[in-house]
């Protein structure tokens, strides 16, 4: 049992590339911390520095209160699960799991009983005599986990451990990994580029971009109160709709293209900082679920002053809800690096997505009115990209 504490940690590669900048993060005992960010943001480098596979250029790394910057991975008492599992192909499952114990010169019967115990936790008992080549992807993944937990490490590190699994197995293993982490109850640093994985698994989530830590918080807090444009755009699926907008001089109404959305008092109270933006440009963020359709909904139509009208481009019926892709006459803002590679990054200007009730009548080519849930609106400064709160 231990905590992990990174203080102002930097990593500069010999070629001058500054991969991790002033990174400070604290993982408490038994906490499941997920480090998430787009490819190449330095998250894996940060993890490898904790593991001791990468030198720390400057800053302090403490494990269980002790500075371990110059200690070997072995001395740090950490265990790590790699993206590609890195199982020893010439050893059986039992030998793979027991290898670290063998290196510690534990007596054979003790190794055998620990391996057996671990295999039971992971449901690998009947595969102990197999070699990795004879196992399925999910089983290999479990062996890799077993190899890590059998040592009862004080810190558990995982580098995108689920990314080699197919979609269905990944969802299953997500729960499995969480279950195991709860059971062994050690500080865990889990790296992923998948924000859904981060949101569903982490006790807390740390978002990183270009080597800089953006925000650390509980998943829901990250979602509801992003500190900046990047976090707002990165967390959530479908992503938050972000538009260039401007405030009226009295800072009471947002101009979005040719439309205006009046801000109720509650909204102004929640974002007192907005008062400073009277007559200025801002970036408006609207989560897809904060755009319920107003069509035929009398109650929603009443608050017509916070309505938003768009042209329907595409409707995706998911059964429980409709994803309505629409266009308005405002410019879309794209947060740099926030869209993942498989997303369509060439978003057309004015595009947006709304998550509406299946009873709503949305037809391609027709106009649709949304009753904007103003409480869920987010505002960002276009210069600093910081969220506007106080």
């Amino acid at each position: 049992m231990a905590t992990v504490d990174l203080q102002q940690v930097n990593k500069v590669y010999p070629n001058g590339f500054h991969a991790v900048k002033d990174f400070s993060l604290n993982i408490s005992e038994g906490e499941f911390m997920v480090l998430v960010g787009p490819s190449g943001c330095g998250k894996t480098t940060a993890l490898r520095m904790v593991a001791g596979l990468e030198d720390i250029t400057s800053g302090t790394l403490r494990i269980a209160g002790k500075v371990v910057n110059d200690e070997t991975p072995k001395e740090r008492d950490i265990a790590m699960v790699f993206q590609n599992y890195a199982l020893y192909p010439h050893m059986t499952v039992a030998e793979n799991i027991g290898f670290a114990l063998k290196l510690r010169k534990l007596p054979k019967p003790q190794i055998a009983s620990k391996v057996k115990e671990t295999a039971e936790i992971l449901g690998l008992t009947e595969w102990l005599d197999r070699k990795p080549g004879q196992l399925s992807g999910g089983q290999r993944q479990r062996v890799a986990m077993g190899r890590a937990i059998v040592r009862e490490p004080s810190v558990f590190l995982m580098d995108e451990p689920l990314s080699n699994l197919d979609a269905k197995l990944r969802v299953q293993m997500r729960a499995e990994v969480q279950r195991i982490q709860r059971r062994i109850n050690v500080a865990t640093l889990y790296v992923t580029h998948d924000q859904i994985e981060a949101m569903t698994m982490g006790d807390r989530v740390a978002v990183m971009r270009s080597g800089v830590l953006q925000q650390v918080n509980h998943p829901q807090a990250l979602y509801d109160h992003p500190d900046n444009l990047f976090v707002a755009a990165f967390i959530g699926s479908p992503a938050m709709n972000l538009y260039e907008a401007s405030m009226t001089d009295d800072a009471g109404t947002v101009r979005l293209g040719s439309q205006e959305i009046a801000l109720p008092v509650v909204c102004k109270d929640a974002h007192p900082g907005l008062a400073r933006y009277g007559g200025k440009k801002i970036i408006l963020g609207l989560r897809p679920e904060h755009l319920p359709a107003a069509n035929g909904n009398a109650a929603a139509a009443e608050s017509a002053e916070s309505a938003l009208v768009g042209n329907v481009d595409l409707v995706e019926a998911l059964g429980s809800e409709l994803m309505v892709h629409f266009t308005i006459d405002a410019r879309t803002v794209v947060a740099e690096g926030a869209t993942s590679d498989d997303d369509d990054t060439t978003a057309r200007s004015g595009e947006g997505v709304a998550r509406v009730d299946p009873s709503a009548k949305a037809k391609v080519g027709e106009r649709i009115t949304f009753a904007v849930n103003t409480a869920g609106m987010q505002f960002f400064d276009p210069e600093t990209e910081l969220a506007i709160w106080d």
């Binding site: 593991a51 596979l53 991975p73 590609n84 599992y85 890195a86 020893y88 192909p89 080549g133």
Partner: protein, 280 residues
């Protein structure tokens, strides 16, 4: 194959016919070598030739060992070849590991240099090497062959082993480090077992090359006691007589170690040894 062939087409098809000719091409000379080694000197010159030895005679074998010291040649070949192969594998593994896995300057230059060295014709170096060995006083010794054999076969072995080492994911070593294995332990318990196919390939090539090498063996070992099989066999007979039967018998015995080696090589299921290490 989804469809099943019927009748004669099951036996006589393109693949089998090709295989038959390939086998014939390789097996016929070997068959001729073996049966001829059991013929008597008289039957050797028969026309038309005997396709099965009659009478069946083991005289050629006893002659090779008794009259011509074939036992000594065999022992010399075995010692020289095994020592050279062992050295090549040890140095090749170390060098291959360094070139394949460690951060190092001038790797490319080194690899190209090795490639150039490995295609250098042996005959061009024989004279200077002879003088060198004479100056060191190691002519007519095992070292006289072990050293140049190691040197000549090392570049190729380094290339093969380096390529195998290169193919091993770096996570294997990192996992080892995290599991608490030191550098030597990592190489011994993790890298070497994974590079085993490379070791076998390099070993077989080196063994065969040393076992059949003629030019250096002829030049550096002028005394009968130090001769290896190829030179020994070439020196069989007198200016007046070429004892074909004995030469054939000796050749058959010379093939045996390579045959055993290939058999062992086959036994190890090499392909697929590294599968399952990474990815799903």
């Amino acid at each position: 194959m989804g469809r099943t062939r019927k009748g004669w087409r099951r036996v006589i098809n393109g693949v089998n016919i090709s295989a038959f000719f390939v086998t014939l091409f390789i097996a016929l000379p070997l068959y001729w070598l073996i049966i001829s080694s059991f013929k008597t000197p008289v039957a050797m010159g028969d026309s038309p030739p005997q396709y099965w030895p009659s009478p069946f005679s083991g005289a050629n074998y006893s002659q090779a060992f008794v009259q011509y010291d074939f036992g000594i040649y065999f022992r010399n070949s075995l010692i020289v070849t095994l020592c050279a192969t062992a050295l090549v594998l040890v140095f090749g593994t170390v060098a291959g590991y360094a070139l394949g896995r460690l951060p190092m300057r001038g790797k490319f230059t080194l690899m190209v240099t090795l490639l150039i060295i490995s295609v250098f014709p042996e005959i061009a170096l024989i004279a200077p090497l002879y003088l060198l060995e004479r100056n060191f006083g190691i002519l007519n010794s095992y070292e006289a062959l072990i050293i140049p054999y190691t040197a000549f076969n090392l570049p190729f072995a380094i290339w093969i082993l380096r390529n195998y080492m290169l193919g091993i994911p770096k996570e294997m070593e990192e996992t080892g480090r995290i599991d608490g294995a030191g550098p030597l332990r990592t190489v011994w318990s993790i890298i070497l077992p994974m590079a085993l196919p490379g070791l076998f390939t390099a070993g077989i090539f080196c063994f065969t090359a040393c076992w059949t090498e003629f030019l250096m063996a002829l030049t550096f070992e002028s005394v009968n006691n130090w001769r290896t099989i190829p030179v020994g066999i070439a020196e069989f007979g007198t200016p007046l007589e070429v004892p074909y039967g004995t030469i054939f018998a000796a050749s058959v015995v010379a093939v045996v170690p390579i045959g055993i080696l290939v058999f062992i090589f086959r036994k190890f299921v090499i392909s697929g040894l590294t599968s399952g290490a990474v990815k799903g």
